[in-house]
């Protein structure tokens, strides 16, 4: 069974307690943000699970208010389900996941996600997290999970089996000290952004007041799954190298480097040895922190082929346009996917930008209008820490008026997505991308690409509007001229049609 294969790769990291003390780092800071983070973890998990199983994701999110600052959050997916024995690990063990050890572009990247939500629920409400899951074998597993903080294991509080035909996973978190708000930072906007960046996903959302919103999918085509690629020597850090070495099956460090990193050939070993002074015939399991640091420092002084970009899966311009069209209903939409570039001398990344004008585009909320910037990293929405993000600063540095946009008035939504196996986040909160010069330049170029197209559209629109206005003026006054002139001359009224056509030179478009 597919799910079993996926979960076979589970690995353990005993850090629950550490993260409990650092809940803020995981996004559990502030009453609104904490709620959004829970939704994010659940939805990300669901979409990833469905995609891995080759299923078009359909996600249901329902938030119900139980009391003051007290909510129940339900997230349901249609993915492959979780085999019973993995449920406590998935929801009750931090840093356990199928992704951490793989160098692959992914939404979550750290695998702390959904267990963090369990943890947060447990800390604030004292209640376990309820999980219903079925792999589609006619049996539903219902479990209540809590985390044993000291041992970093998931405790099963209660377990039931139900006979029913269904496939997927449903999680219910009961949380306190959170607040629901339909603001830029709230779950609604998070889901809206998720829907834009993932046009193959259908999201149903029920708000606490009962409002039902369906973000319908805009395409039936599944995105390409990113493939794991070995880290490039320029992108790797000492601790990464060390942890890879610890689990390597190679007999020598030389062998380990050649197999576990990309673009490191056997020919380079002499040079690495010379520059680092590390004996590469040692077993990788004997590698010390100092060895790792010296090797990484040697890498920086060496030349390597650029890293392969096949691990990067952009959303694609067409899909961004589909997503923006579906959710924003704009008059105009345009998107680009830029070719891969590298930053810090070797880490590949791709920037995508989309722009939508009119319709529901533009800043959200009452009494707000103008340019809205929506940021994504590996197609996951970045909601918080907007100010410190390279995407925000690049967008702000653009002289929008040159593109016919008044950032305070024009209803424009700017979509920005950075794709990379190593997105250079500013902090562990992963809500903003660091100002790497190459990334900044690339984001700026992408913005200008789409802004130019918007300007072209707006100019056409202005021209057409002026032409129509002009035509309207002639349509109004020329018949008066004809009638009054005929009256003056005491003759028959001339047909003004041909002249009208000549002076306006406009084909009257009934759609305008």
């Amino acid at each position: 069974m597919l799910a079993k294969e996926i979960f076979r790769e589970f690995k353990e990291h005993s850090v629950s307690e550490f993260f409990r003390k650092n809940a803020a780092m995981l996004g559990y800071t502030g009453k609104i943000r904490s709620l959004t983070t829970i939704v994010h973890e659940g939805v990300t998990n669901g979409i990833d699970a469905a995609e891995e199983a080759g299923i078009l994701p359909s996600i249901l999110v329902a938030i119900k208010q139980i009391g003051p600052e007290h909510y129940r959050v339900v997230i349901e997916d249609n993915a492959s389900g979780i085999p019973k024995k993995f449920v406590p690990q998935v929801f009750g063990k931090m840093l356990a996941g199928t992704k951490l050890h793989r160098n692959v572009q992914n939404r979550g990247q750290q695998g702390i996600g959904v267990s963090g939500a369990t943890m947060f629920a447990q800390i604030t409400s004292g209640k376990p997290t309820k999980v219903l899951t079925s792999v589609g074998d006619g049996e539903i597993t219902q479990m209540e999970i809590m985390i044993d903080v000291n041992k970093n294991v998931g405790k099963v509080i209660g377990s039931k089996r139900l006979k029913e035909e269904w496939r997927g996973t449903r999680v219910e978190f009961e949380v306190k000290e959170v607040n629901y708000q339909r603001s830029r930072y709230g779950p609604f906007n998070y889901l809206r952004m998720t829907a834009i960046a993932n046009p193959h996903v259908r999201i149903t959302f029920v708000e606490p007041d009962g409002t039902l919103t369906i973000f319908e999918r805009a395409t039936e085509k599944m995105p390409k799954r990113p493939r794991p690629i070995p880290p490039h020597p320029w992108g790797i850090r000492s601790d990464d190298l060390l942890s890879l070495a610890k689990t390597s099956k190679a007999h020598t460090i030389a062998n380990f480097l050649a197999t576990e990193l990309s673009r490191v050939s056997k020919k380079k070993m002499g040079q690495i040895e010379r520059l680092s002074g590390v004996d590469l015939r040692k077993s990788p399991r004997e590698m010390t922190w100092e060895d790792a640091e010296r090797i990484v420092s040697a890498f920086k002084r060496m030349k390597f082929m650029s890293p392969p970009t096949k691990g990067l899966c952009p959303i694609g311009a067409k899909n961004i346009e589909r997503g923006m069209s579906q959710i924003l209903n704009p008059e105009f939409v345009y998107a680009v996917t830029r070719p891969p570039k590298v930053y810090r001398g070797g880490i590949p990344f791709i920037v995508e930008a989309g722009i939508a004008y009119g319709g529901d585009a533009g800043k959200q909320g009452e009494n707000s209008e103008g340019l809205e910037i929506i940021r994504f990293a590996n197609r996951a929405p970045l909601i918080f820490d907007q100010g410190g993000c390279v995407m925000t600063s690049a967008a702000r540095d653009v002289d929008w008026r040159r593109y016919g946009v008044n950032p305070n008035v024009t209803p424009v939504t700017l979509f920005l997505n950075i794709i990379s196996t190593h997105v250079p986040y500013t902090s562990a909160g992963k809500q903003s991308v660091a100002d790497e010069p190459e990334v900044y330049e690339e984001v700026r170029s992408a913005i200008m690409d789409v802004a130019r197209e918007l300007r072209r559209f707006l100019n056409r629109k202005i021209r057409r509007r002026e032409q129509m206005k002009r035509a309207g003026i002639f349509e109004r006054y020329l018949p008066i001229i004809a009638k009054r002139a005929a009256n003056l001359a005491e003759t028959d009224e001339p047909d003004v049609g041909p002249l009208l056509e000549k002076v306006t030179g406009v084909d009257f478009d009934p759609e305008e």
């Binding site: 002639f474 020329l478 008066i480 001229i481 003759t491 009224e493 001339p494 002249l499």
Partner: protein, 358 residues
């Protein structure tokens, strides 16, 4: 007594009606030929207002602007002009007159919608006057205010009414805004004596100056109204009467006379219908102030400034005016026409005017 049989007025009206009809016909023809209707309007900008030495008044130069119905900024104005022309033609055919204000309000009912203010509709009328070479009065539009008072041997006909200007009471015959509609029937006078103030007018009527000088006494009431200027022009041209102008001895009096003689810059496009270039200013001059030792007032700041303006004005570019202006600036004094009362109420009739009217 001179008897006039010809009704010049009907000819004028025919001409106006004809012009408007031609305008309409031209527009219709252009629309049929799928050409944008156009109208060339002489420019009324200051750069196109020229003092014509030969005729002695301001006139428009040969610059003109093209109003086109194919221009998006002009098509509304063009339509309004046709509405106005149509309105005027209906005034003419029904023998009615309307004031500019009435036309402005009538425009509320036009298909083009109303004017934004009266200045806009007035400008349109001025365009039409300039473009067609017609006065607004010819097109059935009349000024708001009445003209001057006339006393003397003149018989006129307004519609069915005959008016004798010696039998219209002491206030005399009032020149109506529709003066072009008035027919001169008989005239016994040999000259026109136009005076600035009604005070002087009544003095002259009481002293029977109209008999003594065989004159039509015209009380201008300050700056002459369009209707008054038109009356003076007609009296001068149709009746062949020389016009004498008697005003206060100050820059404003000078200019009342000059506007009658040479016309104003603002109405340059129509001055050929208004100006009386051979009219004569007889006083009060600066020389008179000295010669008759008249009671005076000191020139005020604004008088001096005005006199200096007049010095440079091409209309005052003659030896007589330059000398008089210079002299007034030298003595720094001005005098009213009624200052002659110093020597008795009848002094002006018995001594001053005879010396001026030869």
């Amino acid at each position: 007594m001179l008897t006039l049989t010809q009704r010049s007025e009907s000819r004028r009206v025919k001409r106006a009606e004809q012009k408007l009809r031609e305008f309409g016909a031209d527009v219709v023809e252009r629309i049929r030929r799928v050409e944008p209707p156009k109208l060339s309007v002489p420019s009324r900008s200051t750069s196109n207002i020229i003092y014509d030495e030969k005729s002695g008044f301001y006139t428009l130069g040969d610059k003109f602007g093209m109003r086109s119905a194919a221009n998006v900024r002009q098509v509304k104005k063009f339509a309004q002009m046709l509405c106005a022309a149509d309105f005027c033609k209906s005034l003419i055919t029904s023998e009615k007159f309307a004031t500019l204000r009435e036309m402005y309000y009538t425009a509320e009912g036009w298909e083009t919608g109303s004017f934004s203010d009266q200045a806009e509709s007035n400008a349109l009328v001025e365009d039409m006057e300039a473009a067609f070479g017609l006065k607004r009065e010819d097109m059935g539009l009349m000024p708001e205010e009445d003209g001057a008072a006339v006393y003397g041997e003149l018989v006129v006909r307004e519609g069915d009414v005959r008016i004798d200007a010696t039998k219209a009471g002491r206030a005399g015959y009032t020149i109506p805004p529709t003066i072009d509609d008035v027919e001169f029937l008989k005239c016994g006078a040999k000259r026109v004596l136009a005076v600035e103030t009604m005070g002087m007018y009544h003095r002259l009527v009481q002293e029977e100056a109209w008999k003594k000088f065989n004159a039509l006494i015209v009380g201008l009431k300050g700056q002459a109204a369009r209707a008054t200027r038109r009356f003076l022009k007609r009296a001068n041209e149709e009746l062949g009467l020389p016009v004498h102008i008697f005003t206060d001895g100050d820059p404003f009096g000078f200019h009342i006379a000059m506007v009658i003689i040479s016309g104003s810059a603002k109405l340059a496009y129509i001055n050929h219908e208004l100006a009386v270039p051979n009219a004569e200013f007889i006083g009060v001059t600066a020389s008179d102030i000295v010669e008759y030792d008249l009671p005076t007032d000191k020139l005020k700041e604004c008088d001096i400034a005005r006199l200096k303006q007049l010095q440079k004005d091409p209309r005052y570019n003659s030896e007589f005016w330059q000398t008089e202006i210079k002299k007034m600036l030298e003595i720094g004094k001005k005098a009213e026409q009624q200052a002659f009362s110093k020597y008795g109420l009848d002094y002006v009739v018995n001594e001053y005017l005879p010396s001026k009217l030869h």
